[in-house]
Symmetry: C2
Subunit: 293 residues, 2 copies
């Protein structure tokens, strides 16, 4: 039987800092941080559980960051459910939940941008202009506010992890970025807050994403030489078997450098990343795998 | 009689962090930070003395940051004298002097840029494209490395202070920026590492900068309504009395927002900022003054 655990909700930066400072003074244990946009699912819960296993204090942030949404994207309708989020956070063992208002995070128009080049040229960096500036800037703010020892990110957003790792390295941020595996529904669909948007037909057809990535994995296991084009063709053609699937991109790149290759990637690790629209809902998924064992 | 004080020189980020962490564990006192490009003069020494008066540990960094120099600027020939710098640092009471190599600060090509808009549109932001991106990025790195309670900056670089204050506010950096007054030679020339470039004739004529700003101050004291154009004309025409002076800019703006005004600035405080070339040497100076008492 788990011990009774109570989560504390904090809305202001000043109170959050004061509470973390109090913890730091009283403990040699580390602070773990899980930044999210809320509408928590089991994927988020798995990040929190990992953070709890390694940290003396676990901070969860819930903030739908307007800066990382394009003008025609889903900022306004992004799903929100703070009450259920708190229950999930509490069950997963979070100690502090930071839920700032947009005004608390952006009291004045922000004039400072943190921008990462290179790893942002392709995939969502190409199809969502400005998105990763918004991500890098808000993650930089949150890391300055929380000052954690470790921050936990899910690998469903593999490019986001690459962007944040690059930023942390380039700017000497004093934090360890912990990569956490994508969680999936039983039938293989990658967990995402946006899955709630899907109609029943779209939800069924969305299975082609994980199926296509599984095919790619089986293909790679059999091949001595990895061809980027063959991988992309294999994945794309399987996704196209779903009539409702509208492909945004399918790419095979080195990871985490996110550079293209033809047949022999310079990196040991590659990512096959997909973004596909079903109606108004854009889903992403990826497979990261070793090509040299 | 001053107590014997020894300065410790550190070349790596890892050693600097370890030493600061050791201090933090053993003391409740604050850490003060003075970032510089070296070739220290009395202005730098005054920052160090102010830091010593307020902090338990004073960290000085000496790093000529290539990122903030344009392709035709003086990065290569920027004056350097590490031995004398250490003597100045020690005399002024610095505890740790961080002197990283370019490779230590930029082990790989940096892909992350911290960029501040608004306050960088005019003055040196206009005449040195990319300069303040380089400044904001390296100061962000240094603040992450040192994690000081307070960082001390000289007001000779008034726009730099405005950029850093904006960055600290926008990105929630957990540091207080302390503005320190410009130090001047006895005849009024603002102290600068670049003064060493001046020939004897240039050095004599460079006095027009501080003289022109003094005239502006006297003018402001007498006027009920402050006209930006009148100030700029007054300062420019005095500078032009020096045959070797080649004006880059003379501007009167609100401070620290650095926005133009005509006769009634919205801000209580204005800056009159000048950049003037004497031969190959570009000097800057400024006057910051209250216009509403």
């Amino acid at each position: 039987m788990a011990a009774v655990h109570t989560v504390t909700v904090v809305h202001t930066i000043a109170e959050l800092r004061a509470r973390i400072k109090t913890f730091r003074r009283s403990s040699e244990q580390t602070v773990g941080f899980v930044p999210t946009m809320g509408y928590l699912h089991e994927g988020h819960a798995s990040l929190l559980k990992k953070a709890c296993a390694q940290s003396g204090l676990v901070v969860l942030s819930i903030f739908v960051n307007p800066l990382q949404f394009g003008p025609n994207e889903d900022f306004e309708r992004y799903p929100r459910n703070p009450e259920r989020d708190l229950a999930v956070a509490e069950a997963a063992g979070a100690d502090l939940v930071f839920m700032p208002s947009v005004e608390e995070m952006y009291p004045q128009p922000i004039r400072t941008t943190v921008s990462v080049s290179g790893v942002t040229e392709r995939l969502c960096g190409a199809s969502r202009p400005g998105h990763f500036d918004g991500v890098a800037t808000v993650v930089s703010k949150l890391l300055h506010i929380v000052q954690p020892d470790q921050a936990f990110f899910g690998m469903k957003d593999a490019q986001q992890v690459a962007v944040i790792e690059q930023m942390v390295q380039d700017l000497n941020l004093d934090v360890e970025i912990v990569r956490c595996p994508t969680l999936r529904e039983e039938d293989g669909l990658a967990m995402s807050s946006r899955n709630v948007y899907l109609t029943q037909d779209e939800r069924e057809q969305a299975l082609v994403l994980s199926q296509a990535l599984n095919k790619a994995e089986a293909y790679i296991a059999k091949q001595a030489v990895i061809s980027s084009k063959a991988l992309v063709d294999l994945v794309s053609s399987h996704i196209r078997t779903a009539p409702l699937a509208d492909i945004d991109y399918v790419e095979a790149l080195t990871y985490p450098t996110l550079q293209p290759f033809e047949t022999s990637p310079l990196s040991d690790t590659i990512v096959i990343a997909v973004a596909v629209k079903f109606g108004k809902t854009r889903l992403i998924d990826n497979l990261i795998t070793q090509v040299r064992k």
